[in-house]
Every structure is written in C-alpha cells, then in structure tokens.
Symmetry: C2
Subunit: 221 residues, 2 copies
C-alpha cells in the first residue's frame, strides 16, 4: 500500500496558506492589481470557508452558508467570485495545485515507477474521500482539456498541461522499466482517476481493491 498519502483533510490550516497563494496567482487575470488589505483578507476567508463547505457538501454547498462561515455578507462572496461555479472552480484549482505538487515532489522522485503509479491512485482516492467537491469535479477533468479552456468547470489550462506533462513522465518511467502495458498513455490516467471517484463517492469501503484490479489491468499484456 506504500506510505499513506498526506491526507488533505487532516488539517486545513498548515497547507491552506501555501495553496491559497498559489491559487491567487492562477486567477483569471495573470496579475491583477493588488487588493485592498481588507478585501484580500475577506477573499482568503471566503476561500477557507468555501473549501470547508465544498469538501463537506460537494456541489450542494450553499452560498449563504459560505458567507456566514467566512463572516461576510453574500454580496462580498459574489464580488470576489461572480458565481457559485467560479468559486467551486477556484477551490478545485487549489486541490489540483496540491496534487501537482504531490506528483512532482513525491511520485517522480520515487525510485520505483510502479509504486509511484500505485501511490498516485491512492492519493487521488484519499483526496476524493476528504473533498467531495474535488470528487465531483474530477470527472469533468477527465472529459479532456477542451473543458478546461473556457469550459465551466475544472482546473486552469496550464494546470491541465502540467498535469499531462507530469503524468507523461510518470508513465514514461513505467514504460522504461517495462512494468506497464505498451499502449498505456498519460491521457489514460484522468479517466481512470474519474472512475475511482465514483467508487469512492459511492461509499464502497474497500476501494483499494478496485485500485488493485485496475492496476492489474495496466500491467504488461
């Protein structure tokens, strides 16, 4: 089972700040004018509140609830994020940044390419378990990059690109080691992560079993 991945649910606080900075940079405008101090504070509180709300309730999270948790009026939430969807997207991009960092810093350095693949599924599943919003969104990511470009959901285009780039390296290493089927491509991973999401979200207790089955399906023919 390898090392348990750093579960994102354990404490929102420690990584939250790093994630927030990251996400603020990846906003629609590459580098918009800096916010007034109080506005920046409010934006951060809104993101924290939204993270908690979406993690718990997925797309059923309520805007009024988020505003209350953040200690601001609903109008303020809408000033920062024009729509509930856009707020959900911002949160998903944070999660995505976290996952990219995990692949970059933990999986690519893993000397065993097969183990790295295995850990990527484990990490994906435990993220889905901790964050319903991410689990809801991972399917839209699998739909392909077109969705990211102007589409209503999902991570930013450059995040998709980095994801594919990192995944390609992961897969290339596995090919070099001869541990996966010849036709396995990086583009196969998002659909498989999406597939995992519905098992996890269905509350199937031994989701690890289905990771094992899929992994067996990825072994060389």
């Amino acid at each position: 089972m390898s090392t348990p991945p750093p579960t994102p649910s354990s404490g929102p606080e420690p990584e939250a700040r790093a994630i927030r900075d990251d996400a603020t940079r990846s906003a629609p405008e590459p580098d918009a004018k800096p916010l007034r101090a109080d506005a920046a504070r409010n934006r951060a509180k809104i993101l924290d509140a939204a993270r908690a709300a979406f993690a718990e309730h997925g797309r059923d999270a309520q805007m009024d609830d988020i505003a209350t948790r953040a200690g601001v009026g609903v109008g303020t939430v809408y000033r920062h994020f024009p729509t509930k969807q856009s707020l959900a997207v911002a949160i998903v991009q944070q999660r995505f940044a976290m996952i990219l960092a995990f692949i970059r810093d933990e999986l690519l350095p893993d000397p065993d390419p097969w183990n790295a693949l295995e850990r990527s599924f484990e990490f994906c599943a435990s993220t889905q378990l901790a964050d319903r919003g991410y689990a809801d969104a991972v399917g839209t990511i699998a739909g392909g990059s077109p969705i990211a470009g102007g589409g209503p959901h999902g991570p930013a285009v450059d995040q998709i690109e980095e994801m594919l780039d990192l995944t390609e390296r992961l897969i290339a290493r596995a090919h070099a080691a001869g541990v996966v089927r010849d036709d396995l491509a990086a583009s196969d991973m998002p659909p498989l992560y999406a597939a995992l999401a519905s098992i996890v979200q269905a509350g199937v207790p031994d989701w690890r079993r289905y990771i094992a089955i899929v992994l067996d399906g990825l072994r060389p023919r």
Copy 2:
C-alpha cells in the same frame, strides 16, 4: 466488441409499456387498490415524461417540465410520487428491471462466459450513455444493499437481490471456465459499473478502452 446491446435510447416506445407494467408492480405497496382509469392513464404519462426528462437532464430534470410534458398539473405529479426523488427512483427501477431482463435473457444464455461479462459492461455503458438519470443513480447502487432498504435512492430490495443472484451465476460460470481471477466476486460488479459511469458521463469518447483495461484486470492472475 460482441453484438451491440439493444440501445435503450433508440425508441422509448417499444419497451416502455412492458417496463411500465413491471414498475407498477414493484411499487411501495405490493398490490395497492387499482387506480381509477384516468389516474392510471396519468400515472403512465407521468412515468413516460419523467423517463424522458431524467434521461436527458439527470437529477437536474424539473418537476414542472415533467408535468408539462405529461400534460398534467404539478399537483398530479406529486399525488402519484410524493417527491422528485421518489419519481427518480421509480424510473431507475424501470431501467434496472430492463437490465435484469437483459442479463437473464441475453447474457446467461451466452455460451461464452467471458463474452457475457464483456457484454454486461457494454450494455451498462450504453444504458448510462442513453440515460443520465441511470448514470447518476448507478453509483448509489454500488454503495451496497443497505442503501436500497429504506435508503433514498436506487432500485427495490428484491431487485438488488435478483441482480446479485444473476451476477453470481454470471461470475460462477466464468470461474468454472477459468477465465477470471480467483478472487472475483459478484459484489465486485456494482462498483465496477459505477466506475464506468463516471467515465461515460465525463464524455470520454473511447470508453470502450477502459472497459478493456478493467477486463484485463479481471483476467486470471
């Protein structure tokens, strides 16, 4: 790829009546007093309208729209189905009855047990493709029988039982032929069908590829 399964989307009319009768029988009350003629007619029209609406929009289908399509007032819809959820469940039970019939009449008679397994995934995927409501629900089915008993979603308890019974026979035949891994159980199928749903719903065009990967994962070790 085997024979393309009878796609449920092609024409709602032909099977609709048979399905309707089936579902009417599997209503909450085993055999409630017969409905007045006009009420029975309305109920049928509501089920037809709901089938179309849920197939197209999944859980986002609107009650007013269903009432309009059926040519009745909203109140009438609520008289027959106390809640949107209960109406969705009725439709899912119809689909489920259809799937059970397919397994019973098409897959169990298939002389090749491996091919039967393959066709079960294909049929599941094309049903999910044709019916967003079913695709939305199949995850809740995978959660296990507890959900069916009093739970808010999914097929009736006896349908779940029949499903497991039929699937067990399917798997037993595959074990007898030695074409699947030793530890494969009937209870593995619902989670795998649910996994398929998110791939199909994500709009991944070559979902057949992921069926093939999972099937490879089911082969003997």
